[in-house]
Amino acid sequence: MKSKSKGYFGNYGGMYVPETIIPALEELEIAFNKYKNNKEFNSELNLLLQTYAGRPTPLYFAKRLTEYFGRGKIYLKREDLCHTGAHKINNCIGQALLAKRLGKKRIIAETGAGQHGLATATVCALFDLKCDIYMGKIDIQRQELNVFKMKLLGANVIPVESGSQTLKDATSEAIRDWITNIKHTHYIIGSTVGPHPYPTIVSYFQSVIGKEVQKQVSKTPDYIVACVGGGSNSIGIFYPYVWGNHVRNSRDYSLRNRPLLIGIEAGGTSFKNGHHAATLSLGKPGVLHGSYSYLLQDKNGQIQEAHSISAGLDYPGVGPQHAFLKDKKIVTYKTISDKDALWAFKFLSKLEGIIPALESSHAIAYLKHLMPKTKKNETIIVCLSGRGDKDINTVRGNHKL
């Protein structure tokens, strides 16, 4: 997987950041490499994942969903049942344990949907760390429930009013804060984005999703579907099937026994500029927030605004591993519109009694396109990355139930 220089996935990745934070990235990389195989670190991590985050999360056979389509068997990986309601907590616990060992007393994070902010605020309460969360002003409005929860947990939520006032600008502000307070602050990035070693670290801590799936299935699934914002829940569930034991010693990425891996991006309202967040499907490679990957940009290299009904997918960049997986055709990337995501939100709620996050609803909505192609003896796993309570206001404003 690693070729070229440090932190690259094919041509993608790297560390395109100001010199000021390079030493902190090096320090973080050293700590990560030291502790990821450390017994004491792992037993602390695993205990918290089990007793605090509620892992392993169930792999649920969605009987009614399966009957509805009348084809392959559909299973849902229930990340929505994690403490704080999404997969984000997996990464936050891991990074907080690293921050503690680095002696950092303050944590900063960016958040879009508020799920990562909430998970960060939660681990900061748990480990008694000072916590500042950057959040775009628009996202503060559309995710007010999560803002309230973060404050309840003792975090300070800092509104970001620059640019598009969403996740991109919250990330930029968090990086500026980190540049300024680098000595005592650890930045918990919420997805597989940012400069090396972040994509590697976040995907490692999220790989627990896919590793559990491997243990929960009796045979290798035929399809795995996950939504892609920055790319962490998808990389997490794809992980063992891309970089796991059975492929680790192989240079052949097109292994036969791999499930068909499908990443779903936010198609927004149309494929016009500014109407979607389909970075891999419609973007071009470039540098944003420290790494070289696909992004939405104009011909002069200025970053364009993204749009998605779901705040967690509303980002003009994507993690470098996905750029690599796309170019190598290891993962297929598709888009789902705002409208179809709203349909899936309501559909899953009524059919299975599970209210999905609007992000995860994109993955559910793709079943409409996928299922007719599947056979009865095939299995499909959908990563249900989070629960939808946070989205009730958005949905209420968009839909008559």
Binding site: T20, I22, P23, I179
Partner: protein, 255 residues
């Protein structure tokens, strides 16, 4: 900063406050500056504080692009009288990496008018990423000026000063650009450390807002200063007579 040998390097965002003033500002600055940093506006300037962020945004709204900057600078070289070309001090292009990538790095190095352009500063291209491009800069006889920060340790200081061309840019504060009231205590030691490692000129930037701070930095052993946000502020606050105010401000550094 009475030492005439010290380098005075102002920074401007190209096309701020408007496109029309770009060349007149370069001319005015050239009266007192040794080099001029020409900032390419960018939508997501990670290393910049609110002042330069805003200038960047306005310049983008004015339609400034790397292409426009190049065309205008070629105009200085060809259309205007020879005297104007001689009037303008060597320029240093300051740009985040993505606008350069999309233009094409090699194409840019080829297209930059020389010797009008002396080199480039790319704040989000640390040595890890810059290394592979150094031969290209050499080919086109342009300097890639690398940055050191207060957080840079001795080993890296050595690597950076070895690889940096023209001079070395020492960031004075742990933080983003913007004027500061006080210089950090560690700055003096950092300048000394760097000067003991390298013979290349060391210029200090980020947060230097007046001649008093500049003199202090020079007294610590630096070879020059870069003044950015203070100039942007001045241009923003003096819409009626920006050039004369700029002249007065720049001259204050030479007294």
């Amino acid at each position: 900063m009475n030492n005439k040998k010290s380098l005075l390097i102002p920074y401007i965002t190209a096309g701020f406050p408007n496109k029309k003033l770009f060349v007149p500002i370069l001319k005015t600055l050239s009266e007192s500056a040794d080099f001029i940093e020409v900032g390419v506006p960018y939508s997501d300037p990670l290393a910049d504080g609110p002042t330069i962020q805003e200038a960047s945004k306005i310049a983008l709204e004015n339609g400034v692009s790397l292409k426009w900057i190049l065309e205008t600078c070629h105009g200085i070289k060809t259309l205007h009288a020879k005297s104007l070309q001689q009037e303008i001090k060597p320029l240093i292009l300051f740009s985040y990496f993505n606008p350069i990538l999309q233009y094409g790095l090699e194409k840019l190095l080829r297209d930059l008018p020389k010797p009008l352009f002396y080199g480039l500063i790319i704040p989000d291209l640390p040595i890890e990423e810059a290394k592979k491009y150094l031969p290209l800069f050499k080919n086109y006889k342009l300097n890639l000026i690398l940055l050191c920060a207060p957080t840079t340790n001795k080993i890296r200081l050595k690597q950076i000063s070895h690889l940096s061309n023209g001079f070395i840019y020492l960031v004075s504060v742990t933080g983003v650009t913007g004027t500061r009231n006080n210089l950090s205590k560690e700055l003096k030691n950092k300048i000394k450390e760097l000067k003991s490692i390298t013979k290349k000129p060391v210029v200090v930037g980020f947060g230097i807002s007046d001649s008093k701070q500049a003199s202090k930095v020079i007294s610590y052993g630096a070879d020059g200063v870069i003044v950015g946000s203070a100039i942007i502020k001045l241009l923003k606050e003096n819409k009626n007579n920006p050039l004369s105010r700029l002249r007065v401000f720049m001259n204050s550094f030479r007294r």
